[in-house]
């Protein structure tokens, strides 16, 4: 649990952040999203004390961040930045081993951990002995992630980790991050200015504007009920209705009774795939099956349209 309590930051007498209060539950993948200069990086860097607040406090598991020596705190929190920030004079394996070595792990344990983490981050063995400049951007970013994971921290901070990558690589790494989050249950705080990335990854989304929180909630909450014009525009205006269908399941608008039809869909599919199925088959009604394949009802196109409006 990471808690911000009325945190403020000033530069040259100008308030750039806050007062900001926010709590990020254990195991969340919390995405801070907003336009450039809104204070996302500043917020993120306060968690590992790279920036100290001018007012208010930040607690991790009820312990104030300021009560720990900064270096000790940071060795317990993974940190990934946009450009990778790999050490150019160290081979990939030494980059990955950075924090374990700062923590004085035994040699054998470090070596074993390098291989383990390389596997988690899908880094091929052959890359371990290369220097960072001999890697592609995507490979460098995987190494950055592996380096952040190496000492097995409970919290990982990522500042636009995929911002510099091409769309295909970005999508692949996003998928792997979602899987990693799902498998490890780590608390991840990720900064991006790309709302689609936020929607694709976040369990919690914090939309920021001019140093303040414009709205926070689950992706579906923010898509369904943007609290201001700013949030509505930022989540994509009219397109938000389409995006919302990604987060709604067939079972939410299921009608009982067996209206038989030769095309079917399952209860746990998204409304978006239901709509796609209707468009490709030319039907406005589909039969709905449960996990084990038994028919449990039907879904109607007007119910999907209704769901996209809420």
């Amino acid at each position: 649990m990471i808690e911000f309590d009325a945190v403020e930051k000033f530069y040259a007498g100008q308030r750039v952040l806050g007062p900001l209060s926010l709590s990020i539950p254990q195991g969340a993948l919390c995405v801070l999203v907003g336009p450039s200069g809104c204070g996302k990086s500043t917020t993120l860097k306060m968690i590992n004390a790279l920036i100290t607040p001018d007012a208010g406090s930040i607690r991790i598991n009820a312990q104030p961040v300021a009560s720990h020596p900064a270096e000790e705190l940071r060795r317990g929190i993974g940190y990934v930045i946009q450009s990778g920030g790999l050490f150019p004079h160290w081979r990939v394996r030494d980059n990955i081993a950075t924090v374990p070595r700062l923590l004085h792990w035994e040699k054998a344990r470090v070596a074993a951990r390098i291989n383990e983490v390389a596997e988690i981050a899908a880094i091929h063995r052959a890359l371990l002995d290369r220097f960072p400049h001999q890697l592609s951007g995507g490979q460098q970013q995987r190494v950055g992630v592996a380096r952040a994971l190496a000492a097995d921290p409970d919290i990982i901070l990522m500042d636009e980790p995929f911002g510099a990558l091409d769309p295909v690589t970005r999508a692949a790494l996003q998928k792997e991050l979602a899987r990693l989050h799902h498998n490890t249950g780590k608390t991840i705080v990720l900064v991006t200015h790309d709302m689609d990335e936020a929607l694709a990854l976040g369990t919690t989304i914090v939309v920021m504007r001019k140093g303040e929180i414009a709205q926070s909630g689950t992706p579906a909450e923010i898509l369904a009920a943007p609290r201001s014009d700013f949030v509505r525009d930022f989540v994509g205006g009219a397109d938000a209705a389409m995006k919302l269908l990604e987060f709604r399941k067939v079972r939410e608008v299921l009608r009982g009774g067996a209206e038989s039809c030769d095309h079917s869909i399952r209860t746990h599919d998204t409304l978006r795939s239901a709509l796609t199925e209707m468009m490709t088959t030319g039907r406005s009604i589909l039969t709905v099956q449960n996990e084990s394949g038994a028919i449990v009802g039907s879904i109607h196109v007007e119910d999907i349209v209704g769901a996209s409006k809420r």
Binding site: I81, Q82, G84, L86, F87, P88, H89, V99, L102, H133
Partner: protein, 260 residues
């Protein structure tokens, strides 16, 4: 590449031969200057002169490296950053002082001989190394520094494991420039009584014995070229290890080193 590979050993051979067996060149210099009754400098052996010269350069460049590294590191830390402009200005002004003037001013305080020479060489060697250190530390990419901070490096560990290794090519380039300048400038020390390869040059100029001047200049030039070559090899090895970019190469001072 081939020619350089062959040239360096040949120059090294010539340097060693001249330092050890200069008297054997007597017939050649006699032929060159038939009027000259003493065509080879004999007051001290050229081996002795070379060793004395190398000692002056080693001590002054070593002290200047330690000093400039310390100052360069200090003015790039948060605590010393405010001193950066003034230190840069001071070092630059120091460099514009003519070496002969430094010697003249140092003699009353330190007497004749090695001490004022070492002081002058030390002062002259500081600026290039200081500039190299500051440039190298500033060239460490901001994201690399941010990553080091974010991962929990202490500032001392960050300096020794990340910043200095990345700045090393720049620092080495500064040490190279300083050392080559010092090899040339050390010859002036002989005008105030320090033994060096400048001794035959100074005495030759005073006694109008061109053969002495040539002999001193030849050995100093070979010395400077070989040391420069050594630094180049070192820089290449470093570049291959660290894979970091080399700083833009500085103008060669080796040729100027022979003339006092």
């Amino acid at each position: 590449m081939m020619r350089v590979g062959l040239l360096t050993p040949l120059l090294a051979l010539a340097f060693v031969a001249l330092a050890l067996f200069m008297p054997a060149t007597a017939p050649f210099f006699h032929w060159l200057f038939p009027e000259n009754p003493r065509p080879v400098f004999l007051r001290a052996s050229f081996l002795e002169l070379t060793l004395a010269h190398a000692e002056l350069v080693l001590i002054s460049a070593g002290a200047a490296t330690a000093f400039a590294l310390g100052v360069g590191i200090f003015v790039t830390r948060p605590a010393g950053r405010e001193f950066l402009p003034i230190v840069g200005a001071l070092a630059a002004v120091g460099q514009t002082f003519p070496p002969a003037a430094v010697l003249a001013l140092a003699v009353p305080a330190l007497g004749y001989g090695e001490a004022p020479t070492l002081l002058a060489l030390f002062l002259y060697s500081i600026l290039p190394i200081l500039e190299g250190t500051i440039a190298g530390l500033h060239a460490v990419p901001a994201d690399v520094r941010e990553a080091a901070d974010g991962l929990g490096f202490s500032s001392a560990t960050k300096l020794t494991r990340i910043e200095l290794p990345l700045a090393a090519p720049y620092i080495l380039a500064g040490v190279r420039t300083s050392t080559i300048i010092a090899i040339g400038t050390a010859t002036i020390g002989s005008t105030i009584g320090a033994l060096s390869l400048g001794s035959p040059i100074v005495e030759g100029l005073a006694a109008e014995n061109t053969a002495y001047v040539l002999q001193g200049a030849l050995v100093v030039a070979l010395f400077a070229i070989l040391v420069d070559r050594g630094f180049e090899l070192l820089e290449r090895r470093l570049a291959r290890q660290s894979r970091s970019e080399l700083p833009a190469s500085r103008p060669r001072r080796a040729a100027a080193a022979a003339a006092p």
